[in-house]
Each structure stands twice: as structure tokens, then as C-alpha cells.
């Protein structure tokens, strides 16, 4: 195979999570050129399967106050550059009684008093100390509404911000691409190419959808592959241990609607902190943290993990047992490697590793980090790149330059009227795309039929599906779902996946049969993710879904496609 480079850039970034897209954006803002390679899809790993919060991490306050401070500060910056992507999630911490925080109320109160000092950094409200009566008034579902015999002594409230991690990654990548960066998704880096002296000179990559291999020349390579870092080290021919992470699997259970208006903090049977959180249209229950040794491209929740979370939170919020779970998500955190401590004690800090020490000058690894501090991490990484390449001297602007969609606010009602869609559909559209909803509105102005709602649960209109395929690198039904939440709502994609497959096939010039196959693959995977979460009553629904699918696709499913 020829190693002649098609393209030359300053920096090749491997990994399309929030760190990779973040550093790609930062380096283009400073005048460097870059290309990004992602083996699966943007936000496929930890970034798209996180708890969906850019929280300040009060959890880390005692052990790692610096993590809390940077998280809060950056949370404030993210609000400034992408206001459309954030939503407030107030949390309640009930205290006293089984399943609640075990620290005495006064201490917790004092602790959050300390956290209040960080709240202004992220425009959060100070905490409030609440009596049991106040707690029940705010959230009548606590302890099934029963005050007596619960041992509840009170609680506190505190403030966090929710975000859609996939949208955050996509926004960073779009911005970088608009400044000339190249983004290759579904593209695996097979080798980091190095000159005889060991210095990096580019990467050889293979598009996993087309099978085509190509070379991109680069003067520096950033490994931002999170939990995949060890595999990337292999491709770069440096020792595995030089880019070591300690992969920590975390799962979430997703329920079909907002069960509460407040996040609720509880303690699982082993004393770990878990939470129930209203998030966009759904409720998210999380999370676990366990060392992971499986296949990173196919991480799935198990029913053990689901039961651990459900039983845990049910002690404080019993209605969760009767709620309808519509799926699970699973991701693997790339925590800094340490042998010995329990998973929860590991630091959420991050580190730039310079592989010059491993004989590979120009190769860097971004290890660790969390969603809330991605921007500062990207800034630190880019500082190192600028110093090495002696180019791109412009100061960092990622904390002030708006992300795509965050340039200005768009009023939802006029947009709804213009598109002839209902207010809820318009609201969701604006949430995901901010000012870029205008681009989708322009599509609809030219082709009014594209205002048709494809996914009724979320909801998602056809023009948005086409928009994310054309401008956000969505190549499959899965990719569309990641960007729009199509098919991730109450009906599990039963009503929309087939139609979405057709649109993907049309846009990407595949055969309609390929589109149907993609839809089926998506549905099968979703059902697999859902199966671990269903209870007895949901089993029949699951069977019904299968029957409906077979009715729709007929012999296709029998042929096992």
C-alpha cells in the first residue's frame, strides 16, 4: 500500500469524544490545521454515555478540590459558548433513613456551604437546607410519600447543569470543520507513522464502512481515545503502559419520561452515591463504576448492574420500580491509571502525556478528564502543541468563541409557525441546534414536505435527519440517533427507525434494503440494551415490538439480516 499522503495537517487527532473534538476545535481557532479520526462515531464512548451533566463534581470536593474548581469554572464557560445545550437540574439530597446520605445533616449542610463558593463560577444557585415537610412538598414521591418511620431528618438542595454530551462533541467538530479541519468518522487509525528517528509524521487510517485505506501526514499526533488509549498505543508502536488508563464502566438506566422534576441523590446498598435525574424528556438513573476488561466497541449494561441501581434508588424513591425503563446506556471512563484504590476513589483529574519519553516525539496522549473540564483540558493540550510546532500563536478563545448554534438565541414560537410544526417539536429542535435551527428551517422552506415528523417521541423532523447526515457526519441510523435522540424515546424506534433507514439510504446513496438493514441493526441493539432493564409487564411489550417489527419487515427478519 502506498504511504503517500493525501492530506497534510499540523495535527492528527485520534478519537472523536469530547477531548478529541475539543482539541481539534481549539487548535483550529489558534490557526493550526488538523484532522480527526474516529473509529466508531463522534461521542460513541464515554462522552455520549455519561450522566449528561457538566457538574461541578461536589463528589470530588474533599479529595480533589482543584477538580471541583476547574469543573465549575469550565461549566460556566460552556454555558457562555453553548447556552442552548444546557438545562438546569436541581438536586435533592434527603438525609436520614435507609438509602440516603449517611453523613449528618449539619455536616452535609456545611459541605455544600463550601460548594456554594464554587456555584457563581457556573451560575448555579446556592444550596438550601430543607425540613422533611419541605422535601415532601417539593418531591411527593420521596419514600412513597410516607414521612413516618423513614427516619428522614431533612435534606438539602443544590444546583447542577445538564447537557447532551453527543451534541457537545458534534458542535466542537462542526466548528473545527468550518475552520478547515477534516473529520473522518468510522475510520480506524491502523498505524501512527514515524520517521527513522521515531518522530511522528502522520497516520494511516482505514474507513471501516468502505474499507478504503489512506494516509494523512501530520507533524503531531494526539491520542484522545479515552478508554481505547492502550489500543492506540499499539498502533503507534509505543509501550502499552505509556498511555495507560484504568477503564471504569458506568451504566445508566433510562426511563420513559420525567419521573421527577428534581434529581435525587441516594446511597446504594454498598454505600456508593447514586442518583435519579430528570434529563431532557426522560429520567436517567446512574451510575455504576466498575473496572472493565471487555470489548470497548460493545459495552452493555447487565441486569445485575440495573438491579443494583434500581434497588438502591427505590429505597428513597420507590415509584422507580413501577416506572417503565426504555433502555440502558453504558460507557467506559478513561480514569488515570492507579493500582490499588477502589474505583470511586480514583481521581477525575486529567494529564497530557508527552511520548517523547517513549521515543516518539510529536505524539501526545490525553489521559483522564471529564465532560465538564474538556475545554480546559483541550486548552492545555493545544498549548503544548503550539509550543512544539512553533505555530498558531493566537491566544486560546474556546471559552469566549460561541460553539455552532450558540451564536444567538432563536425564538421557538416563530420558528414553529414558520415550519408549520408544533411548539414541542420546535423546542427540541432549538435545544439541539440553537441558532443552527435556521439552517434546518431553510431546508424546510425549500422542501415543505421535510417538516414531517419522523420520530414522534422525541420529536424529530425529516429535515433535521437530513441535516445531521449532511453536516454532522451521521452515516448510519445509530449515528442519527446519537445526534437527534431519534428512536431513543418511549417507543424504542419502532415507529421511526425504518423511515430513518430510508432517509439515510437516500442521502448516502445506499440501497433502500441497506437502509432497512441498518434500521433493523439499530432496533436489535436497542432491544438488547432494553432487555436488561425490563420488568415482567414490559416483557409483553417487548414481544409486541418484535411482532410489529416482523409484520413491517416480513421475511427480512426471518432471513436473519
Amino acid at each position: 500500500m502506498s504511504n503517500a499522503a493525501l492530506v497534510e495537517v499540523d495535527v492528527a487527532v485520534i478519537g472523536g469524544g469530547v477531548n478529541g473534538t475539543g482539541v481539534l476545535r481549539d487548535l483550529t481557532l489558534r490557526g493550526l490545521t488538523g484532522a480527526l479520526f474516529e473509529r466508531n462515531d463522534l461521542a460513541f464512548g464515554a462522552s455520549g454515555n455519561s450522566s449528561g451533566m457538566i457538574h461541578g463534581g461536589p463528589r470530588y470536593l474533599t479529595a480533589d478540590p482543584e477538580v471541583t474548581r476547574t469543573s465549575c469554572l469550565d461549566s460556566g464557560h460552556i454555558q457562555a459558548i453553548a447556552p442552548h445545550l444546557l438545562f438546569r437540574v436541581p438536586f435533592l439530597v434527603p438525609i436520614g433513613g435507609e438509602g440516603t446520605e449517611r453523613t449528618p445533616l449539619d455536616l452535609v449542610d456545611g459541605f455544600f456551604e463550601a460548594y456554594d463558593a464554587f456555584q457563581p463560577l457556573k451560575h448555579g444557585k446556592p444550596h438550601a437546607r430543607l425540613t422533611p415537610d419541605e422535601l415532601f412538598r417539593i418531591e411527593p414521591g420521596l419514600f412513597g410519600g410516607r414521612d413516618k418511620g423513614t427516619g428522614l431528618v431533612g435534606g438539602i438542595s443544590f444546583d447542577e447543569w445538564g447537557i447532551d454530551g453527543s451534541r457537545l462533541c458534534v458542535a466542537n467538530a462542526v466548528d473545527a470543520a468550518e475552520r478547515g479541519a477534516r473529520v473522518y468518522t468510522h475510520t480506524n487509525v491502523e498505524a501512527v507513522l514515524r520517521d527513522p528517528a521515531g518522530a511522528v509524521r502522520g497516520v494511516r487510517a482505514k474507513n471501516l464502512l468502505t474499507g478504503e485505506s489512506f494516509v494523512v501526514a501530520a507533524r503531531a499526533v494526539v491520542n484522545a481515545t479515552g478508554a481505547w488509549s492502550t489500543l492506540t498505543a499499539l498502533a503507534a508502536q509505543i509501550p502499552e503502559k505509556s498511555a495507560r488508563v484504568r477503564p471504569g464502566k458506568g451504566i445508566h438506566v433510562v426511563f420513559d419520561r420525567r419521573l421527577t422534576n428534581y434529581g435525587i441523590i441516594a446511597r446504594a446498598i454498598d454505600g456508593r452515591q447514586i442518583f435519579l435525574e430528570p434529563w431532557q424528556n426522560v429520567t436517567v438513573l446512574g451510575t455504576t463504576d466498575d473496572d472493565f476488561y471487555g470489548d470497548l466497541d460493545d459495552v452493555r449494561a447487565t441486569s445485575d448492574e440495573v438491579r443494583y441501581l434500581v434497588e438502591g434508588v427505590a429505597t428513597v424513591f420507590p415509584a422507580v420500580k413501577a416506572a417503565r425503563a426504555i433502555g440502558t446506556t453504558a460507557g467506559v471512563r478513561p480514569t488515570l491509571y492507579e493500582y490499588g484504590p477502589g474505583e470511586d476513589e480514583l481521581t477525575r483529574d486529567h494529564r497530557v502525556v508527552d511520548h517523547a519519553k517513549d521515543g516518539a516525539p510529536g505524539l501526545y496522549s490525553m489521559i483522564g478528564g471529564k465532560l465538564a473540564s474538556y475545554r480546559i483540558f483541550a486548552e492545555q493540550m493545544t498549548d503544548v502543541l503550539v509550543a512544539r510546532l512553533e505555530r498558531g500563536g493566537a491566544p486560546c478563545r474556546t471559552h469566549i468563541a460561541p460553539l455552532p448554534g450558540g451564536e444567538r438565541t432563536v425564538s421557538r414560537r416563530p420558528l414553529a409557525e414558520r415550519l408549520g410544526i408544533d411548539a414541542v417539536t420546535a423546542t427540541r429542535l432549538v435545544y439541539r441546534h440553537g441558532a443552527r435551527s435556521e439552517a434546518i428551517a431553510e431546508r424546510v422552506a425549500e422542501r415543505p414536505e421535510e417538516a414531517t415528523v419522523v420520530c414522534a417521541c422525541e420529536p424529530v423532523i425529516e429535515a433535521e435527519v437530513r441535516h445531521v447526515i449532511r453536516t454532522e457526519w451521521a452515516c448510519t441510523v445509530d449515528d442519527v440517533a446519537r445526534r437527534t435522540r431519534l428512536g431513543l424515546g418511549a417507543c424504542g424506534g419502532m415507529r421511526c427507525a425504518a423511515r430513518c433507514g430510508q432517509i439515510v439510504a437516500e442521502e448516502r446513496r445506499l440501497t433502500p434494503r441497506d437502509g432497512a438493514r441498518q434500521a433493523l441493526r439499530f432496533l436489535t441493539r436497542q432491544a438488547g440494551m432494553r432487555a436488561v432493564a425490563v420488568g415482567p409487564l414490559q416483557a409483553q411489550q417487548e414481544a409486541l415490538g418484535l411482532a410489529a417489527l416482523r409484520a413491517e419487515l416480513g421475511p427480512v427478519i426471518e432471513e436473519g439480516e
Binding site: 447487565t302 441486569s303 445485575d304 438491579r307 414536505e449 414531517t452 425529516e462 415507529r495 425504518a498 423511515r499 430510508q502 439510504a505 437516500e506 440501497t511 433502500p512 434494503r513 432497512a516 436489535t524 432491544a527 438488547g528 432494553r530 432487555a531 436488561v532 425490563v534 415482567p536 416483557a539 409483553q540 417487548e542 414481544a543 409486541l544 418484535l546 411482532a547 410489529a548 416482523r550 409484520a551 413491517e552 419487515l553 416480513g554 421475511p555 427480512v556 436473519g560
Partner: protein, 396 residues
């Protein structure tokens, strides 16, 4: 004296069993308690090829003929689905339009302003299907005002279908379609899934207009299921079966005479019979329930042994119940466990005891049967087998 057979369940399997038992000379009592998979079905008749039906072929065809709502042809049908696909099936509900015979032409999709009817999108999607391209077929939306009143644009499919049970309304619709110029050059016409709760509207329109006219597949629980129920009730009445609207809660068989089988109803009443056919549906129809610790059980009390993949199920070893993912979605070509689980039977449809030996007077049909493919034709096949053996007893 003729034997008395009680059939529990009024879906495809149960109705076929009732029909076959009556044909074999039995007195039939049919319990039609609850809607199941047949009523929820979309109108496509899937299943094994006719040649694979073997000795049951004649009986299966006779039942479908007698029912009248379905059509089974030697060649396969080509049906349009609500998600914009075209797909083959062995047969169809007669209200559905069969595109199989059409070549090189344009099919009109009637664009009635109904909330859940996207004629433009569907026409576009069907036209893009490989089968349509290979046969030179295109689909075009044609605006025809086929609704008489404003509320019809938001009425549920079933309500609009009921209005089309009136022959005068169908006559009016026919005039509308005849007058639509754009439809005259079309080789077929697709209307929405609302052409009557009785069979015959599509047939009449096709005859009068001289081209295939009908519906796409119904969404689950749509009008194709309603038409099955109408046809079933008519068939059972014609056969002289006594129909009971209640539902069974217990099925017991002591093997003794004069009544080897007792069926206890919700009302507390008991029906005695010489044999019973369990056609209560699988997990979809509600005949089988997911009960994690068992991990499945029949929705009525009985001594039936449940099996999966040819092996009887045992109680879960987990105090929290069997994890559902063990049964849901095999991920392979095999159907998932939740689609296969059911009552353990022998080749005559007789229930097996825990040791595998057949029970004398108890039979199962349709989705209730373990490992049977969950299709309408398979349900009919097992129904005619079980019904016939139930009627004949241990005789010839």
C-alpha cells in the same frame, strides 16, 4: 354421540381449531375472551410455503376459504407497509392491495388529508423500494377528497373504517375515485387503512375500477384485525359453535368420564368437555406471562408444562428471578426466546406432561405452542391439527 370440544382463544389458532373440530363432527364451545396477536396483526399472511404444509394443506386451505377474510395464493403477494417498505407475503387480508401483478406503471396513492396518513412520504418511499424499481412501478400521491366530514380527518382508522361498512358510503367513494382524472391512468390505487371492518370493500372497488385497489398493511391493532374478528364471529355462528364471551381462569383434566376436561371461567361457571384446545396466545397475545421466578407461566391455571427450544423450563435459580436478556432477542438468526416460549406439545398438538408423555384430552394451538413460528399460517396449521385430534379423541 358427538364429542364436546372447548376451544380457549379466538385468534387464528383457536378459530382454525374450532373449525376443524366441527368439521370432524364435534360440538364446539369457543371462548373468545381477549384480543391477541391475530387481532393485533397487520393483515400479512406469513408462514411456510403451501408445499410445506403436507397433509394439512387441504384443511388449512378449507379454513381460509371458509373464513373469507383472507386470501392465499400460489404465488406470493407484494404488500405495501406503513413505514414505506414493500414486502412479500404468502397471503393477505382481502382489504390489502396486492401489487404482485403490476408492472411498468404508476400506482396512485390517495392523498386524503388525514393526520396519520402521509401519502406524499409513503409514495416517495415505496417508489424507492428495489422491488418497485425492478418492476417499473412508481407511486404518486393523488389528492382526492374521500372524506365527507371535517371530523373524519382526525377520526381513528377504525371509526372511519366502520363508516365504510355502509354500501352507500362505498358507492360514494367509488364515484369520487372514478371522477378523479389523475387516477384513471394509474395501474393500481392505495387508500389508507380504513376500508371497512367487514371484508369486501377493497374487492368491490377493485372490481368496479378494474385495477387493484386497497390498503397498505395495518399498523398493529388496525382494521385488518377487526376484519378478522368480524369474519371469525360469522364463521363460528354459521358453524353453530356456542360462543362464550368470558375468559377461562383454570383448566383441569382428570382424564375421567363423562367429562375429562373442566374449564372454569372468570364468572365461576364451569364448562365440561371431552377435550380442550388451548389457543390463548404466546407472550404477545397474553397467553404466556413473563414471571421471572418461573420464568414464564400460562395466564390461566393448568398443569401445562412450558418449554423453550424443545426443553421444559425449570424454575429460575435466582432469588431475584431470571434475567430477561436470557430470553429477549437472541441476536442470532434464531427467534428470541420470548417469541418461542410456550406449552410443550407433541406432533398431534397434545400437551406433554413433565415426563414427556402426552395428555389425553388437552391440546394446544397457535402461539401457545412452544417453538412454533409466530406466523398466522403456522397458527392455522397447528389449529387444524389440534382441532381435528381433539374432535376425534383417541379414535382413528
Amino acid at each position: 354421540m358427538s364429542r364436546r370440544v372447548v376451544v380457549i382463544g379466538g385468534g387464528a389458532g383457536g378459530t382454525a381449531a374450532a373449525y376443524a373440530a366441527r368439521e370432524a363432527g364435534a360440538n364446539v364451545v369457543a371462548l373468545l375472551g381477549r384480543p391477541g396477536a391475530t387481532v393485533l396483526s397487520c393483515g400479512a399472511l406469513d408462514g411456510p410455503p403451501l408445499d410445506a404444509l403436507g397433509a394439512t394443506r387441504g384443511a388449512v386451505l378449507a379454513f381460509i376459504e371458509a373464513l373469507g377474510a383472507w386470501q392465499l395464493t400460489e404465488a406470493s403477494c407484494q404488500l405495501a407497509t406503513n413505514a414505506g417498505l414493500l414486502r412479500a407475503s404468502r397471503g393477505r387480508d382481502r382489504g390489502l392491495v396486492d401489487l404482485a401483478a403490476l408492472r411498468n406503471g404508476v400506482v396512485g396513492v390517495v392523498d386524503a388529508s388525514r393526520a396519520a396518513w402521509d401519502a406524499v412520504g409513503l409514495a416517495r418511499a415505496w417508489s424507492a423500494e428495489p422491488w418497485a424499481r425492478a418492476h417499473g412501478l412508481r407511486f404518486e400521491p393523488v389528492a382526492v377528497d374521500v372524506l365527507r366530514h371535517a371530523h373524519e380527518s382526525v377520526a381513528p382508522d377504525a371509526d372511519l373504517a366502520e363508516l365504510h361498512d355502509d354500501p352507500a358510503r362505498v358507492g360514494w367513494l367509488l364515484e369520487r375515485l372514478k371522477k378523479a382524472h389523475a387516477l384513471q391512468s394509474k395501474c393500481g390505487i392505495v387508500l389508507g387503512p380504513w376500508l371497512g371492518t367487514k371484508t369486501g370493500v377493497s374487492t368491490r372497488l377493485s372490481m368496479e375500477l378494474g385495477k387493484p385497489v386497497g390498503e397498505p398493511l395495518s399498523p398493529p391493532g388496525g382494521v385488518a384485525g377487526l376484519r378478522f374478528e368480524t369474519a371469525r364471529d360469522a364463521l363460528l355462528a354459521k358453524m353453530g359453535a356456542s360462543c362464550v364471551a368470558g375468559w377461562a381462569v383454570r383448566l383441569a383434566s382428570n382424564g375421567g368420564t363423562p367429562a375429562p376436561v373442566q374449564v372454569e371461567l372468570e364468572s365461576g361457571e364451569t364448562i365440561d368437555a371431552d377435550a380442550a384446545v388451548l389457543a390463548v396466545g404466546g407472550l404477545v397475545g397474553g397467553g404466556v406471562r413473563f414471571e421471572p421466578r418461573r420464568p414464564f407461566e400460562l395466564s390461566l391455571a393448568s398443569a401445562a408444562v412450558l418449554a423453550l427450544r424443545g426443553v421444559p423450563l425449570v424454575t429460575s435459580g435466582s432469588p431475584h428471578g431470571a434475567p430477561f436478556e436470557t430470553f429477549a432477542w437472541s441476536g442470532q438468526r434464531d427467534p428470541a426466546g420470548l417469541e418461542r416460549v410456550g406449552v410443550w406439545t407433541d406432533e398431534r398438538g397434545r400437551l406433554r406432561a413433565a415426563d414427556g408423555s402426552p395428555r389425553v384430552a388437552l391440546f394446544a394451538a397457535g402461539d401457545t405452542v412452544a417453538d412454533a413460528p409466530r406466523t398466522l399460517l403456522d397458527a392455522v396449521r397447528s389449529g387444524v391439527v389440534a382441532g381435528r385430534h381433539a374432535a376425534l379423541g383417541d379414535g382413528p
